[in-house]
């Protein structure tokens, strides 16, 4: 593991994401299933590709891929802004985000 992801200093972890096949929802691998909340994503280490292949084969996820994330006290924060927007929702429609009641949710993205 590197010392950080992007401009942050926390431990860099690998997490697995994709979209729900039926709904298209953004989902994150929790170790024993999928969650819509990136905070529940776990470090897959070097096993991401194997998990992705098995889960995609079982049609529990669509187009899975492994990303780098910063491990923080509230869970992983994806290294790239694109994945942070995927995790939260469009920054211009906080009402449609995964945390609509949190007025500071947008700060987590930027």
């Amino acid at each position: 593991m590197g010392g950080g992801c992007g401009s942050f200093r926390g431990a860099c972890v690998k997490i697995l994401t994709g979209n729900d096949l039926k709904t298209g929802d953004v989902i994150w691998w929790t170790g024993n299933g999928w969650s819509r909340h990136v905070a529940e994503a776990v470090d897959v280490g070097e096993h991401g590709e194997a998990i992705a292949a098995a889960e995609e084969g079982a049609r529990r996820v669509n187009v899975p891929y492994v990303i780098s994330a910063e491990q923080g006290p509230d869970g992983p924060r994806p290294a790239h802004i694109k994945d942070r927007i995927r995790a939260l929702g469009p920054t211009v429609r906080p009402d449609l985000s995964i945390r609509p009641a949190d007025p500071n949710a947008g700060n987590w993205v930027i």
Binding site: P90, T91, V92
Partner: protein, 544 residues
């Protein structure tokens, strides 16, 4: 407007059921994503950042009230209560579930709509002038010709797998409101010296990674030959367009590489052959199609003046209306660009309201513009104030058409999986910065266009001021471009210098605009001043 015959309807209905079966097979695991992806894309279904996205075709930007109500219904029932009108005059829904997609397409088919050929390397939805059939400056109505091209290009067996996607725009005026010189093929309806109706044909324009203005390939093609001529244009492209490099596959690259003269020579040679095949429809068929676009029942002898006693109403009339060909009528633009709004977004309620207003005041017709606004094409001047009051109540009366806050913006990184940076927040920042109506009016026509990546869905190359979002080491960065135009005076904007942060680019844009204000002569638009003085004064103001 055009109405499907039994064959049109059967084609669309059959396609829906075919897609339903494909979706079922995908959900049952009988197809992998690699196998399914081209099939869903052929039906307008993308997988974007947050969900599936459905792009619904609006042929040449024309909608009836019934169709608008269906669009609102889809937004309400299957999406999150809104839709996004695009720079291709289409509408996109951002939160579609795969299992719902066939039902949505089935519902759309009941109002003669579909999502066929809104993706893929085929001829896409034909776009046109939003004022078609209404504008006072029109030589002829481009819609029947666009409709015929729609029929010709739908499921065309030879042009289903072109080297790359293909976009055609058709206009009928000298004023270009459809950016035809920035299309793969642009057609301008005109009369030659003998008074015969035909098309000036531009081929090889486009934006994206390699922006180009299309050269004129034929100055005049009689209308009875234009389908054959386009067939020849496409055949030459299909034969020689590059398939080994996606970045060099558009027709603009072919025309540029072999030169307009050589491309023209080959097209003319092919045309001589194609013309023998008899693919141009008989005049009676074009007349039949034109019959669908006959003028509505305009009243004669109507008063041609509007009482402008209310200053707010007067400002809106001055900015958002356009001359109609029929005395007593006027074309109304409905801006989807309120301050702090999302360009092109409309709620289901707003779409329903526009449908109602179109039914009541505009002979049941709505148009979508490539600038992501809506148009009521045939409004009686006597109804104008009442209409305005109802638009205002619905938050649809922003008096900013073609002003600094009437910004084109692609969905950007907030929605799009191809984007490198967000576009919408920038547009919102700019509208807040220039919210003062008096300041907007003082600045005059100023077209700002923002793209979140090099693919240029936000037409940044054609902006008087363009902004391009890029990824710089994982951070959003924005390049400022000046001097573009998508109108009849088409030009490509140039990058002014090193990029900026989000706040930085809005500051830079404001400095460029203030430079214009300082340097302009009476009557000059931003673009005119830029063309007169060049980029240097703007550069000095922005970076000095």
């Amino acid at each position: 407007m055009y109405r499907y015959d039994e064959y049109d309807q059967q084609i669309v209905d059959t396609r829906v059921e075919e897609f339903r079966d494909q979706v079922n097979r995908r959900l049952a695991g009988e197809m992998t994503e690699d196998q399914f992806k081209p099939l869903r894309l052929m039906n307008g279904l993308y997988l974007q950042l947050h969900a599936y996205m459905l792009r619904v075709a609006v042929p040449y930007g024309v909608l009836s009230s019934r169709q608008m109500r269906m669009l609102a219904h889809v937004a309400r029932k299957y999406d999150k209560g809104y839709g996004h009108f695009t720079t291709r005059q289409n509408i996109q829904y951002n939160w579609i579930k795969l299992a719902d997609a066939p039902d949505i397409l089935a519902e759309l088919a009941t109002v003669q709509m579909h999502a066929i050929q809104t993706s893929g390397n085929c001829i896409r939805n034909i776009s046109s002038d939003q004022y078609a059939g209404a504008a006072a400056d029109e030589v002829g109505d481009p819609r029947p010709y666009a409709e015929l091209l729609r029929q010709w290009s739908t499921f065309h067996p030879e042009f289903t797998y072109l080297p790359r996607k293909f976009k055609i725009a058709v206009i009928g005026s000298e004023d270009d409101r459809a950016a035809i010189q920035l299309h793969d093929i642009g057609l301008q309806l005109r009369r030659n010296e003998e008074g015969t109706l035909g098309f000036r044909v531009y081929v090889g324009g486009g934006m994206g990674r390699t922006p180009m203005i299309a050269p004129v390939i034929r100055d005049f093609v009689p209308v009875e030959d234009y389908v054959s001529y386009l067939e020849a244009c496409l055949r030459v492209y299909n034969r020689y367009g590059r398939r080994d490099n996606i970045y060099k596959a558009r027709i603009k690259i072919l025309v540029h590489e072999i030169g307009a003269d050589e491309y023209r020579r080959q097209v003319e040679e092919e045309f001589l052959h194609v013309k023998q095949l008899g693919i141009d429809p008989p005049a009676a068929e074009l007349e039949r199609i034109a019959g669908f676009f006959a003028d509505p029942a305009f009243e004669d002898g109507l008063a041609d003046d509007v009482a402008l006693d209310d200053p707010e109403f007067a400002a809106w009339v001055d900015q958002n209306t356009h001359a109609h060909k029929k005395p007593g009528y006027i074309i109304v633009n409905i801006s989807l660009k309120p301050v702090d709004g999302i360009p092109g977004d409309a709620s289901a309620e707003q779409i329903d309201i526009v449908a109602d207003l179109a039914e009541r005041y505009s002979f049941d017709e709505v148009r979508v513009t490539h600038a992501q606004n809506l148009v009521l094409p045939h409004v009686k001047k006597a109804d104008l104030k009442t209409l305005w009051q109802q638009l205002k109540a619905a938050g649809l009366a922003s008096a900013n058409l073609d002003l600094v806050t009437d910004i084109i913006a692609c969905p950007g990184l907030d929605y799009c999986s191809l984007a490198n940076a967000r576009s919408i927040p920038l547009a919102q920042d700019i509208t807040r910065r220039f919210a003062d109506p008096a300041r907007q009016k003082d600045l005059g026509e100023l077209k700002i266009k923002i793209s979140g990546c090099i693919n240029a869905c936000g037409h940044h190359h054609a902006g008087h001021i363009g902004i391009l979002g890029v990824d710089r080491k994982g951070e959003e960065n924005y390049q400022l471009l000046l001097g573009g135009s998508g109108a009849e005076d088409a030009s490509l904007a140039k990058i002014i210098g090193p990029g900026f942060t989000e706040t930085g680019v809005v500051d830079a844009l404001e400095k460029a605009i203030e430079t214009y204000r300082t340097l302009r002569t009476p009557g000059e638009r931003f673009l005119d001043t830029y063309r007169r003085v060049g980029i240097q004064p703007f550069k000095e103001a922005v970076y000095g």
